[in-house]
């Protein structure tokens, strides 16, 4: 009798975590992002993806437990996008001041971070769609390590329907779609940020002046 009770308790103890896990949604976001069809800017960019970005996990405990690991997928997207929109790209650990002796100096340094993630699930909205909003803060520094722009950028993605899909698959699809939208905003909008536009204009003027001086000195290059 005592042995039967012991076995029953052990089974219950083993089943409780399983039942609790069944009530929560865990997603590791995975998606592929295509190359951008765009003319790269002629600068060397340094991308700083710190641990809080590369291992970012969104957790929600409102009504339903949702855990969404999107760090790897968003790192993949940012890596892809900045490779495509600049002529040269390097990964950096931190924002560092470029000295005159630095070989192949970096012109701009980018530090993205996640400001906010919001989910809308069918049980909340009564709609057959999953929606995801991601708000990023893209900080931009010049070669001297001085901040030149602080761009708050939001992206949105949704699934068409929840039918025939698990919650995990639907959330993965909605998040991938939001990340794809973030890519659109970066590719189309980055060079139109007023501070970045001014910086590019300034660089172009400096380059023109350099070319003029070189032409006056009779330098053929």
């Amino acid at each position: 009798m005592k042995k039967t009770c012991f076995i029953t308790v052990r089974i219950i103890v083993a089943l409780v975590p399983l039942l609790l896990a069944a009530c929560s949604t865990n997603v590791v976001v995975s998606g592929d992002y295509p190359s951008a069809l765009t003319k790269p800017l002629p600068y060397h960019v340094g991308l700083v993806l710190n641990n809080s970005f590369t291992q970012y996990t969104f957790k929600s405990e409102e009504e339903q437990d949702v855990t969404m690991a999107l760090g790897q997928s968003q790192s993949k997207l940012f890596d892809r996008v900045f490779t495509d929109i600049f002529a040269n790209k390097s990964r950096l650990q931190t924002v560092t001041k470029q000295t005159a002796t630095t070989p192949n100096p970096i012109d701009l340094m980018i530090v993205p971070s996640v400001e906010e993630v919001q989910l809308a699930m069918p049980f909340e909205t009564r709609l057959n769609v999953f929606e995801v909003w991601i708000k990023y803060n893209v900080q931009v520094f010049n070669g001297d390590g001085e901040p030149i722009a602080d761009w708050l950028m939001s992206a949105y993605g949704k699934t068409q329907t929840r039918f025939l899909k698990s919650e995990e698959a639907a959330l993965n699809q909605a998040t991938t779609s939001a990340l794809r939208d973030a890519g659109v905003r970066l590719i189309v909008g980055f060079k139109h940020i007023p501070e970045i536009r001014d910086w590019i204009e300034h660089q172009q003027k400096e380059q023109q002046q350099k070319n003029k001086v070189m032409a006056q000195n009779g330098d053929p290059s």
Partner: protein, 261 residues
């Protein structure tokens, strides 16, 4: 004597069971048929040129917040238009990836004027040329449930389970396809399709669904008409009068795709 006995079994036992089932099946099968109205406009009655190596791409509109054109529906039209390899149709996702980010919902051109401005970018124009994209068909619309009624419930017990009840729902598909010629930068025509249908679920023990194929009928209607833009002898040619330009050619299709007229 034996024959008389058999006919008595039939009239007394089997007939009372089979007759209502047959009647119900007949009612539901006619009930779950769909009706389709197609409105077509063509700029010219000649077939659209599509040379060797040129292809068509079919794209869904997804810029509106409240709905988006279903990717499955776009694939369905693409399949119909490809017609077993007669037309080269580029899959939507492949096109979106090749031109990323220029045809994503946030920035996709809504009008031809914007498209022509986009083609001024040499990178986009070169990619269009290298892939041989001649026509772009934009499909806008969706399928939604317009009405629901009835209820049924299922239960499972130690001795078995079963369902009981009746439910019905109506679905409506409204789509419009616009054909753009990327070489001449003009619109070649439009096809609008409206399909409606009712579905039923009868549950006496096991649930028996009678589903109206609303979206697939809309796909068939729009796909066949679009095929008529490019191919000779396609269904659109045989069902519409050859006047230029054409409008308001309406046909009713039942759930098997037969023309009711």
């Amino acid at each position: 004597m034996k024959g008389f006995y058999c006919s008595q079994i039939f009239t007394r036992t089997l007939f009372p069971i089979l007759f209502p089932i047959t009647c119900l099946a007949a009612v539901f099968l006619t009930g779950c048929s769909t009706s389709t109205i197609i409105d077509e406009y063509k700029v010219t009655d000649t077939h659209l040129d599509l040379h060797q190596g040129e292809q068509v791409v079919i794209m869904g509109r997804r810029h509106a917040g409240e709905y988006e054109t279903e990717p499955d529906f776009i694939n369905c039209i693409g399949g119909r238009l490809a017609n077993g390899g007669q037309l080269n149709v580029m899959p939507e996702q492949e096109f979106l990836d090749s031109f990323y980010p220029w045809f994503e919902p946030r920035v996709a051109p809504l009008k031809l004027k914007r498209m022509s401005r986009m083609l001024e970018d040499p990178m986009i124009a070169e990619r269009i040329k290298s892939l041989g994209i001649r026509y772009m068909v934009w499909v806008d619309g969706n399928t939604e449930t317009t009405d629901k009624s009835g209820t049924f419930s299922c239960a499972v017990g130690p001795g078995g389970g079963g369902c009981f009840g009746f439910a019905s729902w109506d679905k409506a598909s409204i789509y419009e396809a616009i054909v753009w010629d990327l070489k001449q930068l003009d619109e070649k025509g439009r096809v609008k399709v409206e399909t409606k249908g009712s579905s039923y679920m009868l549950a006496v023990g096991a649930p028996i669904p009678f589903i109206a194929q609303v979206q697939s009928d809309a796909c068939e209607g729009i796909g066949n008409r679009l095929k008529g833009f490019f191919l000779e002898g396609a269904p659109a040619e045989s069902t519409t009068p050859a006047s230029v330009p054409k409008r308001d050619s309406e046909r009713m299709l039942d759930h098997r795709g037969m023309i009711k007229s």
